[in-house]
């Protein structure tokens, strides 16, 4: 693939033109050989292990905690309660100023008076080993006064319902309505209105590496070093400093290898803050690695929504508008510091996303529950908004007797209509819905599939083909969190330096959780400086050694971290050429760097190697002109300016078979076309898209955090909470359309959430296409066999 025009380099066929090439990840050999360093692999001298007593009740007053028996357990060193930690740690309230009217209650590392969900950490035991700490937990005695639990979000705002935090007045945390046009009049005049109530099940990330942290407070120099599996080390540095009453410069956060994140590891967890507080008190390292039960009960959950939605169309299929009411339950606290109102807010922003229509009304109401807190998880709100929008689109197509592809084509925003502002006020710089649909139809053999579908139906085999177009929000600006008062950085930086041997080291504020950040940064830096990619080393995940940045969330690694890397690399190249020009008595603009050699730009002739240049600069600076700059290091930070977000788009298709006797769904094949702007490494993007699809399909088919009416979590093991396995997943075909963002030289937008955003909607439509001849449909995720059989009237 040639160097993209927007990169602006003149030599498009240089061997170190790495952008757009499928370069293998340099950090993969250590992962496949078992030589990575995850947080649990780190062992520090005098380290203690934490285990927590977690509330067995969804809602209960803590009357008394007796610790004597626990302290008598061999190996147990200390026991901490909420009151102990409150002496060194200030509570937090997770609201953002720009989410008008939002409220939440103060939250401590361990609660002072009440437990508000089953699984909330209440007492901590520290011991020489995790096993001894667990023995200590078993010996703790707590007197509980169980309180009524608020578990049903439909009744959360009713009079007489338990108000979880009485000082807030009610259980309503946030509400927002976006409107455009005259929805009531438009719907009254419509040719047809389709409507449905969609439910998306509570699910969670199930990172295979559980949440992991070691906090180490050094009394000699007053520093807190935290090894943590986190997506946002600089954000965590701020949080620890602020709430433990330290300076930010006294706190260092290190994250080496991280075993999956998906948004789960970008939040502040009370038990992790408790670990930092205990280390601060003791002056010793404290390790906490969540076990799988703790993960299910205390990792953030997501997607607990009930959405009543209707869509109006004209006789020719023109979409008139959407009218949507979203209700979501978030547990007892809004999660710090991103807040738990964002998912509902995103539903309001994203419904109807791919289409051009005039009338819009969407309300979200965010309410408290005595269940685990929910917050941002991969593709925040996207799969919900997409399933609702696309579910209605295919319902309308059936109601009109129209091809759902044709209905989409008539309504999708034209590819030449940009810039475009959507009804809820989202500004799109440039999307490619029609080109993406065209590309998808090149990949999906629709005619063959429809023929097969008709043939199979005669034999009583029900197969369905479903589509889902979507938009995805990436490259967030300060408009996401910063304007709300949160210290969550939307900019990112990169420092690039050349060492004496001509190799290049780049440190970046964005982080690696397996998506390949370090690989694409190495490609971009190699491309920008002009060296072989093997000569570039990347440093991420250390607040002491990387430029300040936001880390990895909302698809910003390539688009923001990548652009900072490109700018710093180009600046370093210019600096190297300035020095080389002095050495070679040539104007710098007549020189170039190709695969580690200074070359003559006009002829391509090699003039000098970079390691020779390094040798002279670092060891024989006496031979260079006196006033020549001697630093071979550059730093650039990047932030988007024109648009609050880089929106991307895509479309998926799912081909599935429903067994009408068992209710089981078999996935046959899946297709994705997505437009993430410049594709830096197709190998990485493709498998990340597939991983996103599998996570979306998992949420739509299997994954469900199930509570009973008293707030008891019933899915606490991987035998209860099902995730997709290799045998159940289909082949997933990935295609690309590239519409680079004009905000940056690189032109990259995000790609990590596209798969998850679209897959549940495509599957919803595939199942309902299969069931259509039987007059049945399902609207409640996950689409379990029981729900499908119920829709068929067989259960």
């Amino acid at each position: 693939m040639p160097t993209p025009a927007s990169i602006g380099l003149s030599r498009e066929d240089l061997p170190n033109s790495y952008i757009g090439r499928s370069v293998p990840r340099p950090n993969l050999p250590k992962l496949v050989q078992g030589r990575a360093t995850y947080t649990d692999d780190v062992v520090l001298p005098r380290m203690l292990h934490a285990a927590f007593l977690r509330s067995p009740h969804a809602h209960a007053r803590i009357l008394a905690i007796r610790t004597e028996a626990a302290l008598a357990v061999p190996g147990v060193v200390r026991v901490f309660t909420g009151a102990d930690l409150a002496k060194v740690c200030d509570p937090w309230v997770a609201v953002l100023d720009h989410l008008k009217g939002m409220k939440s209650a103060p939250q401590h590392p361990l609660p002072l008076e009440r437990a508000t969900w089953q699984g909330e950490a209440v007492v901590a035991v520290l011991a020489d080993t995790r096993a001894a700490a667990e023995d200590g937990v078993a010996a703790l005695e707590v007197d509980w006064d169980p309180l009524p639990a608020q578990t049903d979000m439909e009744t959360a705002l009713d009079a007489g319902t338990t108000v979880i935090h009485p000082e807030l007045g009610d259980n309503l945390v946030f509400t927002r309505t976006a409107t455009k046009g005259d929805v009531d009049a438009a719907f009254a005049a419509a040719h047809k209105v389709v409507e449905a109530t969609f439910v998306t099940g509570r699910h969670t990330g199930v990172t295979l590496e559980p949440r992991s942290i070691i906090a180490d407070y050094n009394r000699a120099d007053g520093t807190l070093t935290v090894h943590q599996a986190t997506q946002a080390p600089h954000m965590m540095q701020t949080v620890y400093a602020k709430h433990l009453r330290m300076e930010e410069g006294q706190v260092r956060v290190i994250c080496k290898d991280v075993g999956g994140s998906f948004g789960i590891k970008v939040h502040v967890y009370p038990d992790e803050v408790a670990v930092a507080a205990m280390a601060r008190i003791l002056g010793r390292p404290v390790k906490f690695i969540a076990d799988r039960f703790e993960s299910f009960a205390s990792d953030i959950h997501a997607r607990d929504h009930r959405i009543k939605a209707r869509m109006a169309v004209e006789a020719d299929g023109t979409i008139i508008g959407f009218d949507v009411d979203d209700l979501t339950g978030i547990g007892p606290y809004s999660v710090y510091p991103r807040t738990s109102a964002m998912e509902g807010n995103q539903v309001v922003n994203l419904v109807g996303g791919p289409y051009d229509f005039a009338h819009y009304r969407c309300t979200t109401r965010v309410v408290l529950q005595n269940k685990a807190p929910t917050c941002q998880y991969r593709a925040v709100g996207h799969p919900i908004a997409t399933a609702v929008t696309e579910g209605l689109v295919e319902m309308a197509a059936r109601a009109l007797g129209m091809d759902p592809i044709e209905l989409r084509r008539r309504n999708m925003i034209r590819d030449d209509a940009y810039p475009f502002t959507s009804p809820p006020g989202m500004r799109f710089e440039g999307l490619s819905h029609h080109a993406s649909l065209d590309k998808l139809l090149e990949m999906v053999p629709v005619a063959r599939i429809r023929a097969d579908q008709a043939e199979q139906r005669k034999k009583g085999v029900y197969r369905g083909l479903g589509f889902a177009a979507f938009i995805e929000l990436t490259n967030p600006s300060p408009f996401m969190y910063g304007i709300g008062g949160a210290r969550i950085s939307a900019q990112d930086g990169c420092t690039v330096r050349m060492d004496p041997d001509g190799s290049v080291v780049a440190s970046s504020g964005v982080t690696e959780q397996g998506q390949g950040t370090e690989a694409i940064l190495a490609q971009i830096v190699a491309h920008g400086v002009g060296v072989p990619v093997e000569r570039v080393k990347i440093i991420t995940g250390d607040t002491l050694n990387t430029p300040y940045g936001g880390g990895t969330w909302a698809c910003r690694g390539a688009g923001i971290g990548g652009e900072a890397a490109l700018q710093s690399a180009l600046a370093l190249k210019a600096q190297i050429l300035e020095v080389a020009g002095a050495m070679l008595q040539a104007p710098p603009e007549s020189l170039d760097i190709v695969m580690g050699h200074i070359t003559d730009r006009a002829t391509g002739a090699e003039r000098m190697t970079l390691h020779e240049l390094g040798r002279i600069v670092y060891f024989r600076g006496d031979t260079l002109p006196r006033d020549l700059p001697r630093e071979l290091v550059q730093t650039r930070h990047f932030i988007t300016k024109e648009y609050p977000f880089a929106f991307t788009n895509g479309i998926q298709a799912c081909w599935a078979e429903v067994d009408t006797d068992t209710g089981m769904v078999k996935l046959l094949e899946h297709w994705v076309v997505e437009d993430c702007g410049r594709v830096v490494n197709p190998l990485l993007v493709d498998e990340q898209v597939r991983g996103g699809v599998v996570q979306g399909l998992g949420g739509a088919l299997y994954e469900h955090c199930v509570y009973d009416e008293r707030g008891n979590l019933l899915t606490t093991t991987m035998a209860d909470y099902l995730v997709p396995m290799s045998a159940e997943m289909p082949d997933i075909h990935v295609g690309h359309v590239e519409t680079p963002t004009k905000e940056s030289l690189l032109g990259a937008k995000g790609a990590g959430e596209a798969g998850t955003a679209g897959a549940p909607g495509a599957l919803l439509n595939a199942i309902n296409d299969a069931l259509a001849p039987l007059g049945a449909q399902v609207l409640e995720q996950p689409f379990t066999p029981a729900r499908i059989l119920a829709a068929l009237g067989r259960f």
Partner: protein
Amino acid sequence: MMITLTVNGERVTRHVEPRRHLIDFLRLDLGLTGSHAGCEHGVCGACTVRVDGEIVRGCLVLAASLDGAEVTTIEGLTDSGEVADLQEAFVARNAAQCGFCTPGMVMAAADILRHHADADRAAIREHLSGNYCRCTGYQAIVDAVAATLSERAIHTPADAGRGDRTQEAGR
């Protein structure tokens, strides 16, 4: 109790508590951190290791039951060079993202290479179903295993052993 066993070709003798699981014995007592504890109840497969030639869940086996056993972890499997070509295929196809499941996945895939040389893609998917991956779409992993199987079928007579393949030769 005291146990003596062979781990990655080296004889080790250790005192273990009766409740110590193999995965904790390997990670905490021997410092072999390549194998991971993912779910701790035998479902996810991240702790997969080889005991006396068969793959097992390290979180379900008690170390105390392994006196005299021969254990191979991802570190030993790598050092022997037995799966160097498979690991190379994982890298070439980006068949890992966060890598937490990967050592267990490689152990399970090595079992396919040893015992199921004729496995097709469906059989590979079936065999790997005990190893959860939350990052990839599984497809690249299946690709890597299938490619390794077909390379071995081309270059190696069906009855030849793989134990003599050095790491250097594969990488």
